[in-house]
Point group: none
Chain length 121, copies 4
DNA sequence: GTGGTCTAGACCACA
DNA sequence: GTGGTCTAGACCACA
């Protein structure tokens, strides 16, 4: 379900957070469906349960999942996640455009790049 | 000349690296002009000389500056830096477009956003 | 009769305890009237019978309900519950006033807030 | 500086978070002053550094402190903390008033209690 | 020196 | 069974 990239410099728990979000955004995990248990996922990924716990805690804090004690973790509404994802993207794009201006990249060139990347697979 | 942002989660040496690149890209520091000495900059920013040293080492490694022993550090040609900067931006944009697709943002909407951000001051 | 809030971080059994108390305080459940059976309520709420059992045990421990073996659970007198409720509230208010002092909120401001909240619906 | 209450049912890290906030609100820890290091505080309280780490991470997330890698943790502006504290208090008071209404406590009685608690030391 | 992440393993409350 | 907290101890990046 999830694969970790140990070459990635980001911490493992952060990778788990992002991969879970992706699975939800892609519709693999539906609203109110149950996530794998902390221990189960830890076994699957060959990592410590504490690390999974940390990832799940972060996901809960962000409102992406909710936890019912003694029962498990469940996917919260997908709409908030989509909204957050969009906002995040916009602010990153805003930063990128600022950089582009500094590098004297014209709007036309930038848009051309966007179209290229959209065309890719 | 440089101001640090302690709220920024990135390490200080990385901020110094980026700010220096910005100064070069913006033309404030010209090719072959001398950078402030390690000690001087450390004093200025109230940070550890080790940190400045590390930033300069990184800049040298990236070919942005060159060091003449006993004389100091100097700005290398700006053209390589510009090229690097552009490549970096392209890969970031590529990532961003991937995200946008996940969030079901169409090419049209994306381009619209780009234009908006370009229009801003 | 009762609805659970899975977004609430408190354990389910505690929510059941509190909701039952509310129903009694509001007069929905009268003195000596019978509560739904453990199994029945568990079915209704789609939760584990153990959880309902635990809630009922807690209510009995607090003297809010009494159990007749083989017959079921019944609402005890409402007066003790009212008294307890009041004491609990007083201690919470005491804590809150301590906090208010820390935040430099004057008695006047506090009382003003109380009046506002009383005025609301 | 801080004492833990092992009778308290709340987790240790949460107690540390609250005590630190108190120290800041009371002016014991001033803006931009340095907090004890993770290891130091852990020694002081005879708890695990991980637990202190968790408390500090939470304080940073709440914007109460900021962290400079390799240097330590520092108190952020006190004004946001005061504002947060006030909002938290208001919402708790709002809840309490709702409860009071359920228990048929009049506004007059409630205000009387508030005045009593304010009079205490 | 500083904080950040992670593992291994324990114990607890809750369902 | 489920998640939540904590300890002990290691290793890393950063200053």
């Amino acid at each position: 379900m999830i694969t970790l990239d140990y070459a990635d410099r980001r911490p493992i728990y952060e990778q788990v957070v992002d991969k879970m979000k992706d699975l939800i955004l892609l519709g693999v995990l539906e609203t109110d469906s149950q996530l794998p248990s902390v221990r189960e996922l830890a076994m699957d990924l060959s990592i410590n349960p504490n690390t999974v716990q940390r990832a799940y805690a972060e996901l809960e804090r962000q409102g992406v999942i909710y936890c019912v004690k003694g029962r498990g973790n469940f996917v919260a509404g997908i709409s908030t996640l989509k909204e957050q994802h969009k906002e995040e993207m916009k602010s990153q794009l805003s930063e990128l455009v600022k950089k582009a201006k500094k590098a004297d990249i014209t709007e036309g060139d930038f848009v051309e790049l966007v179209k290229q990347f959209y065309a890719e697979k």
